[in-house]
Subunit: 84 residues, 7 copies
Amino acid sequence: MPGNPSSAARPLDVLRRSIEKNVLVDVKGKRGYSGILEGYDVYMNLVLKSANEIINGESKGVYDRILVRGDNVIFVSPSKGEKQ
Amino acid sequence: MPGNPSSAARPLDVLRRSIEKNVLVDVKGKRGYSGILEGYDVYMNLVLKSANEIINGESKGVYDRILVRGDNVIFVSPSKGEKQ
Amino acid sequence: MPGNPSSAARPLDVLRRSIEKNVLVDVKGKRGYSGILEGYDVYMNLVLKSANEIINGESKGVYDRILVRGDNVIFVSPSKGEKQ
Amino acid sequence: MPGNPSSAARPLDVLRRSIEKNVLVDVKGKRGYSGILEGYDVYMNLVLKSANEIINGESKGVYDRILVRGDNVIFVSPSKGEKQ
Amino acid sequence: MPGNPSSAARPLDVLRRSIEKNVLVDVKGKRGYSGILEGYDVYMNLVLKSANEIINGESKGVYDRILVRGDNVIFVSPSKGEKQ
Amino acid sequence: MPGNPSSAARPLDVLRRSIEKNVLVDVKGKRGYSGILEGYDVYMNLVLKSANEIINGESKGVYDRILVRGDNVIFVSPSKGEKQ
Amino acid sequence: MPGNPSSAARPLDVLRRSIEKNVLVDVKGKRGYSGILEGYDVYMNLVLKSANEIINGESKGVYDRILVRGDNVIFVSPSKGEKQ
């Protein structure tokens, strides 16, 4: 199957299945954002709604909407309450 | 739909919808710029008008116009007053 | 054989054979994740289930599912109990 | 319009319109250069004439002509006196 | 001769000739791995068997098998006992 | 005109016109090299003859010939005495 | 002339002419290697024989053969005794 090197789940499927759900995004520089995933692309650029910024473990405020550049992403995790 | 891996919003749409509106741009090295988004390209190179430079949380002056290289962008957020 | 510069094992085969098995993933910034490998792609983007995050040698919590961006990966090791 | 993702100004237009005008170029490593923009290319490699080097806010000397590698550019700003 | 800019040895030949032999791999972040080279690809992704991890000069444990991402490799050296 | 986004000078022309002349090359890590530019390519790999290495502002010795990898270049400046 | 932007020497020619001669290779992280250049490729991956590793100015041992990844190279210099 082209583009899918095994029968395993494809990494971007995690993003597709998380649309309109809460995700936690960890980026370089000890920062994180938790919010509702509104969009993404193949570069892992992400759009979050109602995004809470966390720096060094402390909440630093909320953004209505934020575009996070994929280059800086370390990981994306669907929130714990997620059901798939 | 080619180029759009899901029915979700595409990340660059956030930029398109923010043209002529205030955005906050966070870049590497603890810097940020708030200003009116005048232009962008697919590399996330951005042009801001009336851009206020913020370093380590302090305003450092205003630029009539500034071209920010996309490589350094961490996130772009439409300003809180924005309606979409 | 195209894409295989020798008769040696191909690096991504280590990932293919580790699907649904425990792996240890070491990433930049003194972090690691141990969990069950659910998926991967050619960029070494990885999906782990029941992933335990380890920072500076200490467990920092568990994620049901996590997408780790390949850029940040230093190494992936099948867990010691693995049989192949 | 191919190559122009919106009706907005294109980022490189800022450079084109700044030819033979003063610009301020900020690069990685707390350095900046102010001078007359003589040339540029799509990689944001820049040529400045009569470029004043500023390191940590202090002037460090003047170069008749300098080629700045685009990789290191953080931002380019037309000087405040500019009319467009 | 395409792909070979001179009559000199090609760098990846060092890897090909080291298959099933001991190598020392030095990676960014003051780490190294010594083990038996099981596989590699053109990105210098490497698979080592019985890999001993060395951090800041101290042995930190052994991995049955480890996939090291090529991006992080500084050098690879066949072990001193090697005959070619 | 293909490859030349404006009527402005092209950045690599600065290199072409500096062949067999003195240049100052600044690279990452607080290093510089001054010498006679013998060659270059589109990656900004540079060959200098009689290159004086300067680290943290101090001369560290002279190399008959040195190939500097373009990745590390911050800027190249024709020496002040240059006439063009 | 395709691939050669001027009549100047091409940077990789410095490598070609140094085959089987002593070179000094400086890499990121305050390290260097001096040895006999056995091979190279267009990525500046290098193979050295009888390579002496120098860290922070001190010799740290000799490798029979070492493959240095081009990404990390800062410069390559033919040794001073070289005649060309």
